[in-house]
Symmetry: C2
Subunit: 420 residues, 2 copies
């Protein structure tokens, strides 16, 4: 236990929303408010580091505890998010100096940042700069990403709820899409630019006999020819009923996105400047042409990342705990770390344990699906993936109903910074 | 109470699936199996009247009761659906004679058909033909449609669950789509070719402060000019954050779908024969061009009609009851009717009561949203709509979880007909 460090805590949310990023906020806030002997104020940044640079933040101590706990089941980023890439401080340290100024002005001694790869890079840079500047502070990263591609953690808070959305909805769609006694090719598109974790979750539906026949991930180079041959084999085996799940990020050997390749020759300047659908819709259309049957492209779009009504209980609880653990670590003297989840199977049953890794390891490193988990000539996930993912989607946990609709958190957002 | 009629019952599902069409099947089956004194066999038709014409049906008496009850929470049509328009019997009675032959062969005295407008037309034609032929039988329609456009009923089983999906998901999307401190126009597309009931359900999200700013229904002629002016006003009032919900079926004064109008000049024969997104995506692209900001088109696609994990308890129970009530009516001697739901507010609280109307009234009549419920110059729903719809989406009712995923019904489907 290091010496007690007394001062304010600042917390920000960054990157794309998830169903449980607010659960981590609830974990940070409720735990921080317990440590009033060292954490004198708890601030929530409006729009991440944008709020830090602009002195735009809220006094979380003014919020009702009930509302803070409702954050556990409120999707998206309640404080607002941001995508802002900090410069290399060796080239331009303007932003860093400004942050230091704000930290000093409000005696901020705890800085926590919640996000994915880019956000951990931001957090790491701030941590290193403040250390070099001699401003004593404890900096912690709290992991979050539906993409599940953060390095150093077994999985990321946010992934399991999105995976549960993908698996459950795929099961429902399978029942719907096979209802007529006619051929039908359905192509579902899930998020994932570089890693196919979310698309892979459709394989969980296969364990119930209601999954896709073919899965395409960014981890496997995609060719139109192999795709059509794969579909043809399934089409013939299943009386023309084929369900396919693809990642938005599938790409050719050359690394160029299939969506871009297929877009190339399309008129760009027609009436209404019609924008094309995603790669799922494009492949559905390709199949319609090739097989002459009905097809449908379905995009899970933002629903997969904000569908908190389908959140996993394990995920909500781990997201909350990872936030609370960040506070405990920092109060105990740790800094420059990202909280991670370790898989503990010692009891024979899955248990998630909190731990921490150096921030610089988590920053900008992508974790993809192991190649050995991708089977059937690159079109399906193995049992090893199912064993990995299934424990994470257990249990339901959603907002209470009010008039039949979710009762999400209402924050007062009492301004604490001197916003310009 | 009419004389007892002894014979088999045949039940078929028709038209597009819904989250609760199987709940009606569960109601028919469990009630019918109680009346073995007059209902000697309970048959489930594979793919609606296709199964009748092909002698392709299942012996429901062989199913486990537990699985029949799980149908209450299993989306889509477990028996398979069909879209098959019967000829006018005056012009061509081939199909009708074939049906009569099958009814006689299996001594079918009860025929129940579950579906929307077209299905009630089918049911009505069969009822009239069999009466004319002198084959004594009791024919009942069981209403089903997410479109909520069936005549003679306060609302249709299937609507409320789809409406709950639309309202809940719109709330989640609103939180997600407004998370960055930048302009963003989101256009959500809901189903509804001729009636805007499903799109209207997004107005329920407004009651929680998380709804769309603008709603466009097929009931109101659409012009691009007014649309852009409406969006501009909201864009300026809300710092560039605008959410819009549109029906797939919005059309101009001339009745031509906007989706078709916007499609007109787009290259149709490019690489991969790329198919265009729906009208939501098109309007999002139009806004991107007009306002120069980020936009996103989101389609609820099949999820809105098969998202049984978000089913309304009121809807599931009414769907079940309407199936059971059809059996009770028929056993008591009624025929040539469709079961309907009447709204009973006599206790001050909503209560749905079962009743019946002549089949011919329900066939092919569309019920649209009353014009007086459409306010704000055709862009919003009134409190009268909210008062109508909110009682219908109350309560949750979904399949039990198994491994964190829904446990849907597994039917044995023991073949009973002499399928060719």
């Amino acid at each position: 236990m290091k010496e007690k460090l007394v001062g304010a805590l600042m917390f920000g949310q960054s990157g794309g929303p998830s169903s449980v990023i607010n659960a981590s906020a609830a974990g940070v806030f409720t735990e921080a408010l317990k440590h009033s002997d060292c954490i004198t104020k708890v601030y929530g940044l409006a729009h991440g580091i944008r709020g830090l640079l602009d002195e735009d933040f809220y006094d979380i101590g003014q919020e009702d505890e009930k509302e803070l706990l409702l954050l556990k089941n409120t999707p998206s980023s309640a404080l607002g998010s941001v995508r802002y890439k900090l410069a290399d401080p060796k080239k331009d340290d303007t932003d860093y100096k400004r942050m230091l100024e704000v930290f000093k002005k409000y005696n901020v001694r705890y800085f926590f940042y919640n996000g994915g790869n880019d956000s951990m890079d931001t957090c790491n840079k701030i941590s290193k700069f403040m250390k070099k500047s001699g401003w004593e502070m404890r900096v912690m990263g709290v992991p979050k990403t539906i993409d599940n591609d953060l390095f150093g953690t077994d999985h990321c808070p946010g992934y399991a709820s999105a995976a549960k959305y993908v698996a459950t909805t795929t099961m429902e769609l399978k029942l719907d899409a096979t209802v007529y006694d006619k051929p039908m090719i359905t192509v579902i598109e899930a998020m994932g630019r570089h890693a196919g974790w979310l698309t892979a979750a459709s394989a969980l539906a296969c364990t119930k006999g209601l999954g896709p026949d073919l899965i395409y991930l960014p981890e496997v180079p995609f060719t139109k020819e192999k795709f059509l041959a794969d579909v043809k084999a399934k089409y013939e085996a299943n009386n023309g009923k084929v369900m396919i799940c693809v990642s938005e990020g599938i790409a050719g050997e050359d690394g160029v996105l299939i969506a871009e390749k297929m877009n190339e020759n399309v008129a760009k300047d027609s009436f209404g400047h019609v924008q094309l659908g995603g790669v799922g819709q494009m492949l559905a259309t390709l199949c319609a042409k090739e097989f002459g049957c009905k097809t449908r492209g379905i995009e899970f779009s933002l629903m997969q990342r904000c569908g908190a009504h389908l959140a996993s209980k394990v995920d909500v609880e781990e997201a909350f705990k990872s936030g609370a653990q960040a506070v405990k670590y920092a109060v105990a003297g740790r800094t420059d770390k990202m909280v991670v989840i370790k898989r503990d199977m010692s009891s024979g049953k899955y248990k998630g344990k909190m731990s921490a890794v150096p921030l610089k390891l988590a920053a900008n490193t992508e974790q993809k699906i192991p190649q050995e988990w991708i089977i059937n000539n690159g079109t399906m996930l193995s049992q090893a993936y199912v064993d990995y993912a299934l424990p994470l989607i257990q249990g339901d946990c959603k907002a209470p109903l009010e008039d039949g609709l979710p009762r999400f958190a209402h924050l007062k957002k009492v301004q604490a910074g001197k916003k310009a």
